[in-house]
């Protein structure tokens, strides 16, 4: 058994190591070391906890068994998961953090003596407030992440689910959560504690169902942030600085990512959260769809265009992830590079279903990260490039965002693909993208549509090169 002061110092050290873990991610070279710091911090935190309890009862055996059981499951998932499923995995993990926070809060509520928080029915007021906030946020994180997971996995439809009176209902529930916390702290009633948990689960569910598939980057980042605040709430209850520091780090990290994603779509956070985007516009665009001439080509035409180019820019999107086309794409690029053609990749901030989704997929296919560029870095290069190869992206290339103030995506930063001498657009059909609007790029003089599955088309082009 070590003293409370000594263990507090160790918790502080592990908090600092977690900061260094995030700091490492500022560049790919330092990132692996950063991850190591994170692991070290976790080992310190867990070891210190064991020593600070000191009382090695038979319960310890069970703690270790459950630790190993959970750890093996986690390790198994980590090794087996395909990179394309990363958004689902992250959403799933968020739900676990949320639920763990709820469970810890429940056991602290039922047995406060173990945490030095007072006695059942007479818990210290401060601790009870912290505990109930942690539990409520944890419950929201859990049910919200489960819905996000189901939507990403395709088990639940990705289209927004809206109904009349949705926003007033949500507002009412949120207010009732605040009232419940107040009543709970005044009465210490365990009944209210359970009701609070149920209502929080419900609101997490209701908050995420109206948000559509392509807004998932914002949702995942937001839930990331919530899981941090839940951890911080529990950290206050347990008076544990490692947990408070981590909660604050994760909370602000998720908030920044949500901000970056919203900016990438030129929409306010509330606009995304209130949901329903793309549901109403889809109908109107289907009605006034006129037949415009489209040039379509085959793999042979595409190969010819690219062979005669001196520089090619690749614009990947969610469609590439769906078709698992990243390896085929890399092979095509290798063939191009052998003939001395300069190839780079342009990534829009909201391409894919989570922040950095495309970068991970390209990294998986062995694309060196110094060939991959962000929107601001590469947007001026389109004018000098010969061919833009758009694979699985749509709305993020739509020039209407710059020209038509009426458009729902007006003002969104887009890749200036149309400035290229020619554009190759791999897509399965002419159907509009997530925003439900037509892409003018399809009908441009210099655009060649390649109607096919992204992976198959890329392979065919490679054969023809």
């Amino acid at each position: 058994m070590i003293s409370a002061n000594l263990s507090a110092i160790f918790y502080l050290i592990s908090g600092v190591l977690f900061i260094l873990a995030l700091r490492g991610l500022s560049s790919p070279e330092t990132s692996r070391q950063g991850n190591f710091f994170g692991i070290l911090g976790m080992i310190i935190a867990i070891t210190v906890t064991f020593f600070s309890i000191g009382n090695f009862s038979t319960g310890l055996i069970f703690v270790l068994i459950f630790l190993i059981v959970g750890g093996s499951v986690g390790a198994f998932i980590a090794y087996r998961i395909p990179m394309t499923a990363m958004p689902e995995l992250v959403a799933g993990f968020h739900s676990l953090v949320g639920l763990a926070a709820v469970f810890v809060a429940i056991s602290a509520f039922l047995n406060p003596n173990a945490f030095n928080l007072g006695y059942p029915g007479n818990i210290k007021l401060g601790s009870l407030i912290e505990m109930s906030i942690g539990a409520a946020v944890g419950a929201i994180t859990f049910s919200g992440s489960v819905i996000a997971f189901l939507k990403l996995q395709g088990i639940m439809s990705g289209s927004p689910i809206t109904f009349k009176g949705q926003h007033p209902l949500n507002a009412l529930i949120l207010i009732s959560i605040v009232v419940l916390i107040y009543l709970l702290c005044a009465s210490q009633s365990s009944k209210l504690f359970w009701i609070l948990l149920m209502v929080s689960f419900l609101i997490g569910f209701l908050l995420i169902i109206p948000i559509g598939g392509a807004d998932m980057p914002v949702v995942i980042s937001m839930l990331n942030s919530y899981s941090g605040w839940a951890a911080a709430g529990i950290g206050f209850t347990l008076e544990n600085s490692a947990l408070i520091i981590t909660g604050a780090l994760v909370g602000s990290s998720g908030a920044i990512l949500s901000y970056i994603m919203c900016k990438g779509m030129n929409r306010s956070f509330f606009n995304v959260i209130l949901g329903g985007f793309g549901a109403s516009e889809q109908i109107s665009s289907a009605q006034n769809k006129e037949q415009k001439p489209v040039k379509s080509g085959n793999a042979d035409d595409a190969a010819f265009l690219m062979k005669n180019a001196s520089s090619v820019i690749i614009v990947p999107g969610y469609g590439m992830a769906v078709a698992q086309a990243q390896h085929a794409l890399r092979e095509m690029v290798d063939t191009l590079k052998k003939s001395g053609i300069k190839v780079s990749y342009a990534i829009h901030p909201v391409a894919g279903r989570m922040p950095g989704h495309m970068n991970v997929l390209l990294a998986e296919a062995n694309v060196p990260y110094d060939e991959v560029f962000e929107l601001e870095e590469i947007n001026n290069d389109f004018a000098n490039a010969d061919v833009a190869f758009v694979i699985g992206a749509n709305d993020v290339t739509n020039p209407v965002a710059k020209t038509d103030p009426q458009s729902p995506i007006y003002g969104m930063p887009v890749l200036d693909v149309e400035k290229c001498k020619s554009v190759l657009f791999v897509k399965r059909s002419l159907s509009p993208g997530y925003a439900g609007i037509d892409n003018d790029l399809f009908y441009k003089e210099n655009t060649l549509m390649l109607f096919a599955d992204a992976k198959k088309m890329t392979e065919d082009i490679t054969k023809n090169l």
Binding site: S27, M83, I220, A231, I256
Partner: protein, 103 residues
């Protein structure tokens, strides 16, 4: 008059938010997915609470309602810790620079 220890914890919390703010802005956008998976892993340090809860029973009552919730939380957090760190490591191992000989 003494200052309530809560104030110190609050100070740690607020300052950590600022640290997080500056550290996360310096994360390169291409590593945003590993950022999410590693934040996932570190927020599972909540396992320290779960361990305390799981061990609270003492020898005569290893399993009571409170400790069972603790044990469940240990499993969930452990999945996250191992899964989060390992998947981050797997992702980061894929980020490679251009090979020199190809230039």
């Amino acid at each position: 008059m003494e200052i309530d220890p809560f104030i110190f914890r609050l100070s740690i919390f607020i300052l950590s938010i600022f640290v997080g703010y500056y550290v996360v802005w310096s994360v390169t956008p291409s590593l945003h997915t590993p950022l999410m998976s590693v934040t996932n892993a570190i927020s599972s340090v909540i396992i320290v609470g779960a361990i305390i809860a799981g061990l609270a029973g003492g020898n005569d009552s290893v399993f009571n309602v409170s400790s069972i919730f603790g044990f469940l939380a240990i499993i969930l957090a452990a999945v996250n810790i191992f899964g989060g760190f390992l998947v981050t490591q797997r992702m980061l191992a894929m980020y490679k620079k251009k090979k020199k000989d190809k230039k």
